[in-house]
Amino acid sequence: MKKLLLGTVLAGLSLQPAAAHFGMIIPSDPIFGGNEDRMISATFGFAHPFEAEGMVLEAPLAAQVTVNGASTDIDLTAATVLDAPGFVADIEIARPGAHILSMVPQPYWEPAEDVFIQHFTKTYVAAYSDDSGWDAMLGFPVEIEPLSRPFAQWAGNMFQGVVTQNGEPVPFAEVEVEFYSPEGALDISDELFVTQSVKADGNGVFSYVAPWGGWWGFAALMEGPDTIAFDGEEKAVEQGAVIWVNFEEAP
Protein backbone atom coordinates (compact mmCIF):
# COMPACT_ATOMS: atom_id res chain seq x y z
CA MET A 1 0.00 0.00 0.00
CA LYS A 2 2.78 2.34 0.95
CA LYS A 3 4.48 1.58 -2.33
CA LEU A 4 1.31 2.29 -4.20
CA LEU A 5 0.84 5.60 -2.44
CA LEU A 6 4.45 6.51 -3.00
CA GLY A 7 4.15 5.69 -6.67
CA THR A 8 1.05 7.82 -6.97
CA VAL A 9 2.69 10.74 -5.23
CA LEU A 10 5.86 10.56 -7.25
CA ALA A 11 3.88 10.39 -10.44
CA GLY A 12 2.33 13.68 -9.47
CA LEU A 13 5.57 15.27 -8.40
CA SER A 14 7.94 14.93 -11.24
CA LEU A 15 11.40 15.13 -9.78
CA GLN A 16 13.31 15.44 -12.98
CA PRO A 17 12.75 18.68 -14.84
CA ALA A 18 12.37 18.20 -18.56
CA ALA A 19 15.55 20.09 -19.30
CA ALA A 20 16.63 20.53 -22.85
CA HIS A 21 20.18 20.16 -24.07
CA PHE A 22 21.74 23.24 -25.56
CA GLY A 23 25.07 23.89 -27.16
CA MET A 24 26.17 27.14 -25.61
CA ILE A 25 28.40 30.00 -26.62
CA ILE A 26 28.21 32.85 -24.15
CA PRO A 27 30.49 35.81 -24.87
CA SER A 28 31.65 38.21 -22.21
CA ASP A 29 30.17 41.09 -24.19
CA PRO A 30 27.10 40.79 -26.42
CA ILE A 31 27.92 44.30 -27.58
CA PHE A 32 31.58 45.15 -27.67
CA GLY A 33 32.61 48.77 -27.45
CA GLY A 34 36.33 48.16 -27.25
CA ASN A 35 39.09 47.68 -24.73
CA GLU A 36 42.84 47.87 -24.67
CA ASP A 37 43.37 44.47 -26.24
CA ARG A 38 40.34 44.48 -28.52
CA MET A 39 39.55 41.09 -27.07
CA ILE A 40 36.48 39.46 -25.68
CA SER A 41 36.23 36.13 -23.94
CA ALA A 42 33.66 33.44 -24.56
CA THR A 43 32.54 30.24 -22.92
CA PHE A 44 31.74 27.17 -24.97
CA GLY A 45 29.65 24.50 -23.31
CA PHE A 46 26.90 21.96 -23.51
CA ALA A 47 24.30 22.25 -20.80
CA HIS A 48 20.84 22.45 -19.43
CA PRO A 49 20.97 26.24 -19.28
CA PHE A 50 17.97 26.90 -17.10
CA GLU A 51 19.41 24.73 -14.35
CA ALA A 52 23.00 25.75 -15.05
CA GLU A 53 23.84 22.07 -15.29
CA GLY A 54 26.78 21.40 -17.50
CA MET A 55 27.38 18.32 -19.58
CA VAL A 56 30.53 17.15 -21.26
CA LEU A 57 31.50 19.09 -24.35
CA GLU A 58 34.17 17.20 -26.23
CA ALA A 59 36.58 19.22 -28.36
CA PRO A 60 34.41 20.75 -31.09
CA LEU A 61 35.06 19.85 -34.69
CA ALA A 62 35.22 23.57 -35.43
CA ALA A 63 35.04 26.84 -33.53
CA GLN A 64 35.22 30.05 -35.50
CA VAL A 65 34.60 33.76 -35.49
CA THR A 66 33.11 35.08 -38.72
CA VAL A 67 32.88 38.71 -39.79
CA ASN A 68 32.28 40.14 -43.24
CA GLY A 69 32.13 36.59 -44.59
CA ALA A 70 35.64 35.74 -43.42
CA SER A 71 36.08 33.04 -40.79
CA THR A 72 38.97 32.57 -38.40
CA ASP A 73 39.52 29.56 -36.17
CA ILE A 74 39.19 30.17 -32.44
CA ASP A 75 41.79 28.70 -30.12
CA LEU A 76 39.88 26.93 -27.41
CA THR A 77 41.24 26.25 -23.96
CA ALA A 78 39.79 23.42 -21.93
CA ALA A 79 37.93 24.68 -18.89
CA THR A 80 35.22 23.74 -16.48
CA VAL A 81 31.92 25.16 -17.63
CA LEU A 82 28.98 24.77 -15.28
CA ASP A 83 30.85 22.04 -13.43
CA ALA A 84 31.48 20.06 -16.59
CA PRO A 85 34.23 19.91 -19.21
CA GLY A 86 33.94 22.73 -21.71
CA PHE A 87 36.09 25.44 -23.21
CA VAL A 88 36.90 29.12 -23.01
CA ALA A 89 38.56 31.38 -25.53
CA ASP A 90 39.86 34.87 -25.98
CA ILE A 91 38.77 36.26 -29.32
CA GLU A 92 40.11 39.31 -31.09
CA ILE A 93 37.48 41.76 -32.28
CA ALA A 94 39.56 43.87 -34.59
CA ARG A 95 36.98 45.73 -36.65
CA PRO A 96 33.40 46.98 -36.51
CA GLY A 97 30.46 44.81 -37.46
CA ALA A 98 28.58 41.74 -36.31
CA HIS A 99 30.93 38.93 -35.37
CA ILE A 100 29.45 35.44 -35.37
CA LEU A 101 30.94 33.06 -32.85
CA SER A 102 30.16 29.49 -33.76
CA MET A 103 30.98 25.90 -33.06
CA VAL A 104 30.33 22.54 -34.60
CA PRO A 105 30.53 20.01 -31.78
CA GLN A 106 31.11 16.33 -32.10
CA PRO A 107 27.90 14.31 -32.09
CA TYR A 108 27.02 13.49 -28.50
CA TRP A 109 25.48 10.13 -27.62
CA GLU A 110 22.34 10.54 -25.57
CA PRO A 111 21.27 7.12 -24.32
CA ALA A 112 18.07 8.46 -22.79
CA GLU A 113 16.87 9.46 -26.23
CA ASP A 114 18.67 6.74 -28.18
CA VAL A 115 20.11 9.31 -30.56
CA PHE A 116 23.25 11.25 -31.20
CA ILE A 117 22.89 15.01 -30.76
CA GLN A 118 24.87 17.64 -32.64
CA HIS A 119 24.09 21.27 -31.99
CA PHE A 120 25.37 23.74 -34.56
CA THR A 121 25.68 26.69 -32.24
CA LYS A 122 26.22 30.38 -32.82
CA THR A 123 25.83 33.80 -31.29
CA TYR A 124 26.35 37.28 -32.69
CA VAL A 125 28.48 39.99 -31.10
CA ALA A 126 28.12 43.57 -32.28
CA ALA A 127 31.39 45.47 -32.36
CA TYR A 128 32.10 49.18 -32.17
CA SER A 129 28.47 50.24 -32.56
CA ASP A 130 28.22 48.64 -35.99
CA ASP A 131 25.51 46.05 -36.54
CA SER A 132 26.22 45.27 -40.18
CA GLY A 133 26.09 41.56 -40.88
CA TRP A 134 23.62 40.79 -38.10
CA ASP A 135 21.60 38.51 -40.39
CA ALA A 136 24.59 36.75 -41.96
CA MET A 137 24.44 32.98 -42.19
CA LEU A 138 27.21 30.42 -41.82
CA GLY A 139 25.91 27.70 -44.11
CA PHE A 140 25.42 25.10 -41.40
CA PRO A 141 23.28 22.07 -42.35
CA VAL A 142 20.71 23.36 -39.89
CA GLU A 143 20.69 26.98 -38.90
CA ILE A 144 18.44 29.74 -37.62
CA GLU A 145 18.39 32.83 -39.79
CA PRO A 146 17.70 35.82 -37.56
CA LEU A 147 14.89 38.06 -38.72
CA SER A 148 15.38 40.21 -35.66
CA ARG A 149 18.77 41.67 -34.92
CA PRO A 150 20.27 39.10 -32.53
CA PHE A 151 21.73 41.67 -30.14
CA ALA A 152 20.80 45.05 -28.69
CA GLN A 153 17.32 43.73 -27.95
CA TRP A 154 15.25 44.95 -25.05
CA ALA A 155 13.66 42.47 -22.72
CA GLY A 156 10.10 42.20 -23.97
CA ASN A 157 11.09 42.51 -27.60
CA MET A 158 9.96 39.81 -29.96
CA PHE A 159 12.70 37.72 -31.51
CA GLN A 160 11.99 36.12 -34.86
CA GLY A 161 13.99 33.72 -36.94
CA VAL A 162 13.69 31.25 -39.78
CA VAL A 163 14.53 27.62 -39.15
CA THR A 164 16.51 26.30 -42.08
CA GLN A 165 17.82 22.93 -43.10
CA ASN A 166 20.26 22.83 -45.99
CA GLY A 167 19.41 26.48 -46.57
CA GLU A 168 15.68 25.91 -46.95
CA PRO A 169 13.00 26.98 -44.48
CA VAL A 170 11.55 24.17 -42.39
CA PRO A 171 7.77 24.54 -42.11
CA PHE A 172 6.32 24.08 -38.64
CA ALA A 173 9.70 23.31 -37.12
CA GLU A 174 9.65 23.03 -33.35
CA VAL A 175 11.87 25.44 -31.49
CA GLU A 176 12.88 25.03 -27.87
CA VAL A 177 13.62 28.22 -25.98
CA GLU A 178 15.46 28.34 -22.71
CA PHE A 179 16.78 31.03 -20.42
CA TYR A 180 20.35 30.69 -19.21
CA SER A 181 20.22 31.06 -15.47
CA PRO A 182 23.87 31.03 -14.43
CA GLU A 183 23.06 30.87 -10.73
CA GLY A 184 20.83 27.86 -11.13
CA ALA A 185 17.18 27.18 -11.71
CA LEU A 186 14.70 29.90 -10.89
CA ASP A 187 11.75 29.21 -8.65
CA ILE A 188 9.04 27.94 -10.95
CA SER A 189 5.70 26.32 -10.36
CA ASP A 190 6.11 23.56 -12.90
CA GLU A 191 8.90 22.00 -14.89
CA LEU A 192 7.10 22.95 -18.08
CA PHE A 193 8.41 26.47 -17.56
CA VAL A 194 12.00 25.31 -17.96
CA THR A 195 11.87 24.94 -21.71
CA GLN A 196 9.49 27.07 -23.68
CA SER A 197 8.29 25.57 -26.92
CA VAL A 198 7.10 27.30 -30.04
CA LYS A 199 6.47 26.15 -33.57
CA ALA A 200 7.43 27.88 -36.76
CA ASP A 201 4.79 28.78 -39.28
CA GLY A 202 4.56 27.32 -42.76
CA ASN A 203 7.52 29.44 -43.84
CA GLY A 204 9.73 28.29 -41.02
CA VAL A 205 9.34 31.58 -39.15
CA PHE A 206 9.11 31.43 -35.38
CA SER A 207 8.59 34.20 -32.86
CA TYR A 208 9.28 34.52 -29.17
CA VAL A 209 9.03 37.40 -26.75
CA ALA A 210 11.73 37.26 -24.10
CA PRO A 211 9.99 38.21 -20.87
CA TRP A 212 13.13 39.38 -19.06
CA GLY A 213 16.71 40.22 -19.80
CA GLY A 214 19.66 37.88 -20.10
CA TRP A 215 20.77 35.17 -22.46
CA TRP A 216 18.13 33.12 -24.21
CA GLY A 217 18.87 30.07 -26.31
CA PHE A 218 16.77 29.01 -29.29
CA ALA A 219 17.18 25.48 -30.55
CA ALA A 220 15.42 24.01 -33.56
CA LEU A 221 15.86 20.27 -33.56
CA MET A 222 15.70 18.16 -36.67
CA GLU A 223 16.69 14.66 -37.59
CA GLY A 224 19.79 14.73 -39.73
CA PRO A 225 20.35 12.68 -42.87
CA ASP A 226 23.13 10.55 -41.45
CA THR A 227 23.31 7.82 -38.89
CA ILE A 228 26.15 6.73 -36.66
CA ALA A 229 26.89 3.12 -35.81
CA PHE A 230 26.70 2.48 -32.08
CA ASP A 231 26.75 -0.90 -30.40
CA GLY A 232 26.12 -2.57 -33.72
CA GLU A 233 23.13 -0.45 -34.59
CA GLU A 234 22.72 2.62 -36.74
CA LYS A 235 21.55 5.49 -34.58
CA ALA A 236 19.88 8.69 -35.75
CA VAL A 237 21.64 12.01 -35.39
CA GLU A 238 19.54 14.90 -34.11
CA GLN A 239 20.83 18.14 -35.56
CA GLY A 240 20.13 21.25 -33.60
CA ALA A 241 20.23 24.77 -34.98
CA VAL A 242 21.07 26.83 -31.92
CA ILE A 243 21.34 30.59 -31.56
CA TRP A 244 21.97 32.54 -28.36
CA VAL A 245 20.52 36.00 -28.08
CA ASN A 246 21.02 38.53 -25.33
CA PHE A 247 18.15 40.72 -24.20
CA GLU A 248 18.75 43.73 -22.03
CA GLU A 249 16.50 45.10 -19.34
CA ALA A 250 15.20 48.56 -20.06
CA PRO A 251 17.36 51.27 -18.48
Binding site: G33, G34, N35, E36, R38, R95, P96, Y128, S129, D130, D131, S132
Partner: protein, 105 residues
Protein backbone atom coordinates in the same frame (compact mmCIF):
# COMPACT_ATOMS: atom_id res chain seq x y z
CA UNK B 1 46.72 63.35 -29.48
CA UNK B 2 44.06 63.22 -28.52
CA UNK B 3 47.52 62.10 -27.36
CA UNK B 4 46.04 60.23 -24.67
CA UNK B 5 44.31 58.47 -27.32
CA UNK B 6 46.66 55.72 -28.14
CA UNK B 7 47.25 55.33 -24.47
CA UNK B 8 43.81 55.90 -23.11
CA UNK B 9 41.21 55.89 -25.81
CA UNK B 10 42.00 52.35 -26.60
CA UNK B 11 40.12 51.65 -23.46
CA UNK B 12 37.14 53.74 -24.49
CA UNK B 13 36.61 53.20 -28.15
CA UNK B 14 34.07 54.90 -30.37
CA UNK B 15 31.36 56.53 -28.38
CA UNK B 16 27.86 55.50 -29.28
CA UNK B 17 26.46 58.95 -28.79
CA UNK B 18 29.06 60.58 -31.00
CA UNK B 19 28.63 58.21 -33.89
CA UNK B 20 24.99 58.95 -34.69
CA UNK B 21 24.78 55.93 -36.90
CA UNK B 22 28.15 56.43 -38.53
CA UNK B 23 30.77 53.73 -38.25
CA UNK B 24 34.41 54.25 -39.11
CA UNK B 25 37.14 51.64 -39.47
CA UNK B 26 40.70 52.02 -40.70
CA UNK B 27 43.50 49.63 -41.51
CA UNK B 28 46.94 49.64 -43.03
CA UNK B 29 47.43 48.03 -46.40
CA UNK B 30 51.00 48.34 -47.57
CA UNK B 31 51.82 51.99 -48.03
CA UNK B 32 48.22 53.06 -47.83
CA UNK B 33 45.57 53.40 -45.18
CA UNK B 34 42.11 52.10 -45.92
CA UNK B 35 39.27 54.05 -44.35
CA UNK B 36 35.74 52.70 -44.23
CA UNK B 37 32.90 55.01 -43.27
CA UNK B 38 29.32 53.85 -43.47
CA UNK B 39 25.94 54.60 -42.04
CA UNK B 40 23.87 52.22 -39.96
CA UNK B 41 22.10 51.00 -43.07
CA UNK B 42 25.44 49.91 -44.49
CA UNK B 43 25.58 52.65 -47.11
CA UNK B 44 29.00 54.16 -47.63
CA UNK B 45 29.37 57.83 -46.79
CA UNK B 46 29.16 59.77 -50.03
CA UNK B 47 30.30 63.14 -48.77
CA UNK B 48 32.54 63.47 -45.79
CA UNK B 49 35.92 64.58 -44.60
CA UNK B 50 38.67 62.24 -43.46
CA UNK B 51 41.08 63.73 -40.97
CA UNK B 52 44.06 61.83 -39.60
CA UNK B 53 45.98 62.95 -36.55
CA UNK B 54 49.26 61.57 -35.31
CA UNK B 55 50.40 60.86 -31.79
CA UNK B 56 51.36 64.52 -31.37
CA UNK B 57 47.82 65.57 -32.20
CA UNK B 58 48.95 67.03 -35.50
CA UNK B 59 46.76 66.71 -38.56
CA UNK B 60 48.78 64.63 -41.00
CA UNK B 61 46.09 64.07 -43.59
CA UNK B 62 42.85 65.67 -44.60
CA UNK B 63 40.75 64.80 -47.59
CA UNK B 64 37.32 63.72 -48.79
CA UNK B 65 35.92 60.24 -48.74
CA UNK B 66 35.75 58.60 -52.14
CA UNK B 67 32.15 57.46 -51.86
CA UNK B 68 33.32 53.88 -52.26
CA UNK B 69 33.19 51.32 -49.49
CA UNK B 70 36.85 51.99 -48.74
CA UNK B 71 38.80 55.18 -49.29
CA UNK B 72 42.52 54.62 -49.64
CA UNK B 73 44.87 57.39 -48.62
CA UNK B 74 48.65 57.48 -48.38
CA UNK B 75 50.23 56.03 -45.27
CA UNK B 76 51.04 58.98 -43.04
CA UNK B 77 52.34 59.54 -39.53
CA UNK B 78 54.53 57.10 -37.73
CA UNK B 79 54.37 53.89 -35.81
CA UNK B 80 53.18 55.50 -32.60
CA UNK B 81 49.57 55.40 -33.67
CA UNK B 82 46.96 57.35 -35.59
CA UNK B 83 43.54 58.79 -34.95
CA UNK B 84 41.38 58.47 -38.06
CA UNK B 85 38.14 60.43 -38.02
CA UNK B 86 35.40 61.00 -40.53
CA UNK B 87 32.98 63.90 -40.34
CA UNK B 88 29.96 63.49 -42.57
CA UNK B 89 28.09 66.50 -41.18
CA UNK B 90 24.92 66.70 -39.11
CA UNK B 91 26.65 65.13 -36.14
CA UNK B 92 27.62 62.13 -38.22
CA UNK B 93 31.07 61.67 -36.81
CA UNK B 94 33.11 58.68 -35.76
CA UNK B 95 36.72 57.64 -35.44
CA UNK B 96 39.01 54.65 -35.36
CA UNK B 97 42.32 54.34 -33.60
CA UNK B 98 45.21 52.62 -35.31
CA UNK B 99 47.55 51.28 -32.68
CA UNK B 100 51.24 50.66 -33.17
CA UNK B 101 50.52 47.01 -33.76
CA UNK B 102 47.85 47.89 -36.32
CA UNK B 103 50.44 49.95 -38.18
CA UNK B 104 53.23 47.39 -38.02
CA UNK B 105 53.71 45.35 -41.12
Amino acid sequence: MKALLVAVCLIVLPGVASAHGLSVFAFRQGETLGVEAKFANGRAVQQGLIRILDADDQVVFEGPVSGEETTFVPLVGDERGLWVEVDAGNDHFDYWILTPSDLAE
